[in-house]
Subunit: 396 residues, 4 copies
């Protein structure tokens, strides 16, 4: 555990030391105005990052998983119907959570590596004449497969069906790293955590509620207490929390947002896109396909790379850790052993990414894979050297 | 916000810099063995602090409030009956949470300033012939009133009634600062957080389950997902979490426990008792009674001090913050404006406490209260100088 | 070594955590423009703190002692005559250093506890018809005795004698805590370090040279290399150092200056004066005289307090450390065992100072001194409560 | 200034965060036993790193340059003769310092890129019949050229000539990174700093004196005060410094030594050798010769790489900083513009080094140099993958 090498797991991400220092602040009185000076810019800043004008933002001492629970327990009642696609581990888990809370989930199965089947969504919504479906779930970025789904298209499907269902989006591994448009896409609840694009330690669930979602809160019947947004809203009005707030993490969030906005959201997204394209160029040089089946699905925060048949992809992750002290992500669920994952989000430079690619190459050669040392690095260097201009062409 | 003065709120407490640094560790791969080397000593260490041989320990990225929710949602079903005393703000809130989850709470009202009425508990349990009461709730230390209740006596009441109800204890502001005996007292679920005796930032719910409580988990009908101890238990078995673990806070918890055990648990308790006795001696010198009505109820982690009739105690807290940059606790709920609170738990020395008492004296004189400067300080110095020997006599 | 209690030695002082973090910055390329962005505000800021318009500032990786050496080796030649008063340990040491470098020091003995005898200075300067005296040394604040000398009066003595000697001032324990007027007082070289008023770790010698002093550099014959200001000046011109610069400490210095100027220099001085007056009020309450023989000599950064005849003052320091984990200063040289010293400079609040006074009281009672617990604290509280207004009267 | 990328200047080096935290400790009383618990292991540990049994170690708040001054001013008198080779910028500077202190330096010119001409040393020593030469200077590792000289051979030359001169070695950029044998090589004074192999911030001069050198201290006539080892020795005997010690940096040094010994000195040296060999393999792949003229001279801490005729090597450093936020070293003095330097010492992993090489490749292609992207990286990967086994062959 040397902490000298960056991590390349798809979150928690590398954290700027300044953000860690902000999180590590000494104790403040959380009932004093000092806390208000932390809370207010956090709420305002998250709204800006979500590209929303008036989403109501809630921050819980929890994780993205707690954010999912916040979304459903505050808006739904037992037996309510929910539409969801299962195309990866994280969409799977959200579905599982809904079922545990007694919701009736209409699950659309999709191959891991594909995006949300929006046409199928539209069919099902059209078929739902009496509007039993209350909520459509959408995982913006499947961290398990490196697949980005088209949320605007999900919204179009709902609208095309003339359906009143709300749209809940898991943006845990996309928000603050990839473009997210709460208002434009008609999102009703967006969920994320602290440990991805916000470059913070884990420990915060960050959610945004539309007016429509807030309306649903009033009638939602699922029991909730810790995650009750009504208590939060009431306490926020007096610059407080209903319980002890995680002031340090929130102080870090305030700085994180400030750093993101200083860099410029679009520049942050472009940086992620460039670094990601370098990784994809390396995978092409290695002759290894992505798990994501087509370029429009490529995630800019994580790439799941398929290894040759008969090879256990997890060995790459194991050997990288033991021999080179570097962390990558294993394949999960349906693609366990078939892919390894490179996380490329958060606080990351081109040079850091190159050290990751160079290390993976050594590992793959060590393990007998037919890779030429330096080949993927060279492909990525080509991308990074041109500052990502190559990307447009590659994607064209 | 100078961070030079200690805080004297009853939590979050002052944090040793070494613990903050441990919490601020760079990102690790939470699926690697490194995380196991953090998790294992945390679980083992919490068990030791609880004085239990085999309580099952769970750590959630949450707060003490989330710990309460963990306790009830994992062991009870809708409509189950719970017995609880309401003798302060925090017992009040736990009752409220139970009610929101659809439990049937038998509330025993007790004056704020008194402890749990164990005789009344016994009566009610005896009267409950068909054992509808599944759980008895007990707040070990009421942070709002500075009242410590006798948990052993609650256990005796249950046993005397020959009742099979489980005993759930809120030890948020007692555990790791005051003696807590999970096994000896027959506690079934103990709940605490990170930001009190463990001297960490807020962000962890820490709970212990007895075998009996774990048994109840199997049949509990309340919906839960984020707080499901079954997922936790299953994940712990492979050194993991069901979602992203708060590895930094847990690394801090590992160090905190190590520091507590190095000092010696009994020494930690004695230090808290001595510092608390100094505060009480000061209050006596000021002629101000504690909210806690008798010496056996005095908390060693927080003192709620009653100000004279007609005086708004909250002004003390406000002026201490604005004029002297020092944080104390206001009165809450039934005793709002009637008491101010001095938190004296966590990372604290006699000298730090004296700076708090000296500052409160200045504030009180500023506000026209009939206090002689130095009088409370002198009384506390007398206690601290003798290393707390005076305490035995005072309490006798 | 708990780091919970403040230190009350007369430097190194308590350091704000933000300053320590600034000092702890990761490695930068000291030949890059980044370093220039640290160096320039340091030089400009020190000049501002010295109240000079165009003193040339030099910063060495060294200590105040290195600053003394910088002053003399850059301006004098072997055998040159220097006038100096010996009225404490630090003036003694500077004289010793001059002698080691082969200078001819005219030493004016003065009792420890008194200031620089400016009348005697004037006599000797008048008597020095052929101007053999090249430099007059003056220790602004004798850290060993808590005596502040009148530098303006030294300048008047030089001018009254019509003497061209330069005026070199040791401001190690005064600069940035007490008023210092480089230009108005006609100072030619001012010397300080990082670990006192600048609230930094030790490691920097900080000096200012007047035009006259810079002129003397050209002809000075004493050998020097590491401390050669010519190399420094030349390197500064290209934003560099002649060797590896202490970039972290300098980054901290930049922040320290910014904090001092944000608070306002005059407010910083007033804070030191108020805290010091509280300490003096406590000493009066204890019936213990200061080492400084008259109020005009009282230092606002350190108080040397005389204990009763026959009592070994060092025992106070020893017991405070061993029993209460708090650091005070022992008596040095001529006043060893006769005084103990309370440092009250740098990053300090009234409340912190009260914890120091309360602790000293416990120590003194422990050691059998006829002190009433709380008496000194009460006297200081009176001062602090009124925000130092009492001070004017006390000094009148 | 993002601090995300490592630096590749030949010092200050990348610093482990744990070491920076140790340096950033809160204020201690430097006259208390706590300081002794820092000082003693520092002195003992430096001795171990120097591979000496009883060298006397001195630590000054200064830099390596101050270490040079310590060496000569404590052992020599004005006019004393010194033998030195000038084969790079740092040997040049030490000679210059000697001359400023009035020493008579016999300078042996050697081409930059070559080592110390030990045969010429032997000739001159043999010719010095009346032993006017008091000291032989040797720069172990010329940071400007990446040339390691053979100190054992210098000792053999002195002995072969039957000459009593002392051997002073500048080990600033070798000690703690490359093998150094104080006793075996008969070194009389060894000089280093904190900011290279010890992975600390700049701010310490660290020197070792042999018994013979300590003997010379008694008669040395050069004036010194700040750097006087007699004052240091005397103060060390009571766990103190003659002035305020840099306790934080020394606390960091204590940890640094502990980390070096935990890794194992020979392992540390092997790691440096492996990483260096990767850099050299990359240079070979780029068809660029080192400044060091033969393999036996190759430094394991810094490589100076010659760029093609007509190309300004400094542009590489400039563009790497501006475009890729990465720091390399420029050529100095005689080789300015002809070489760029890659520092590869201190806290460094193979993966970090690969990010440096990959970045330099992008820079060189950007600047039109005939380099194939990935070529140098691949050559280094080959070395790192085999854990440096290739090195033996390459050097054979």
């Amino acid at each position: 555990m040397s902490f000298q090498n960056p991590v390349f797991i798809p979150g928690p991400t590398n954290m700027p030391e300044a953000i860690r220092n902000a999180c590590s602040m000494p104790t403040i009185d959380h009932r004093s105005p000092v806390f208000g000076s932390i809370l207010a810019p956090c709420l305002e800043g998250v709204r800006t990052v979500l590209k929303s004008r008036d989403a109501q933002i809630f921050i819980f001492p929890s994780t993205g998983t707690g954010g999912w629970e916040t979304a459903i327990t505050n808006t739904l009642s037992g037996g309510d119907k929910v539409l969801a696609a299962r195309n990866g581990m994280f969409s799977h888990r959200w579905i599982d959570m809904c079922q545990r809370h007694g919701l009736d989930v209409e699950v659309v199965q999709a191959p891991w590596g594909e995006g949300i089947p929006t046409e199928r969504y539209e069919e099902l919504l059209r078929a739902d004449r009496d509007h039993r479906i209350k909520v459509v779930l959408a995982t913006h970025n499947e961290t398990a497969t490196g697949v980005k789904s088209d949320i605007a298209a999900v919204r179009r499907a709902i609208d095309a069906a003339g359906h009143p269902a709300m749209l809940f989006v898991d943006g845990v591994s996309s928000i603050a790293s990839m473009d997210f448009r709460f208002d434009e896409w008609g999102v009703d609840v967006a969920v994320t955590g602290s440990q991805k694009g916000f470059m913070l330690p884990p420990g915060l669930a960050i959610v945004g509620f539309s007016k429509k979602a807030m309306k649903a809160v009033e009638t939602a019947g699922l029991p909730r207490a810790f995650f009750d947004v009504r208590d939060m809203a009431k306490s926020y009005a007096s610059n407080a929390f209903p319980y002890t707030p995680p002031f340090g993490l929130m102080n870090g969030l305030r700085l994180s947002i400030s750093m993101l906005l200083d860099e410029g959201l679009e520049n942050v997204f472009a940086r992620h896109a460039r670094i990601a394209e370098g990784v994809r160029a390396a995978a092409r040089a290695w002759n290894m396909p992505l798990c994501a089946v087509s370029p429009d699905l490529y995630s800019d925060t994580v790439s799941a790379i398929r290894t040759p048949e008969g090879f256990n992809a997890t060995e790459i992750v194991t050997r990288a850790a033991s021999q080179y002290d570097m962390a990558f992500g294993v394949g999960l669920g349906d693609v366990a052993g078939k892919v390894f994952r490179i996380g490329h989000l958060g606080s990351l430079t081109d040079a850091m990414m190159l050290s990751g690619l160079a290390t993976v190459e050594m590992v793959m050669v060590d393990l007998g894979l037919p890779i030429r040392l330096g080949s993927g690095v060279a492909a990525a260097q080509e991308v990074y050297r041109l500052g990502g201009k190559v990307r447009a062409k590659a994607a064209a």
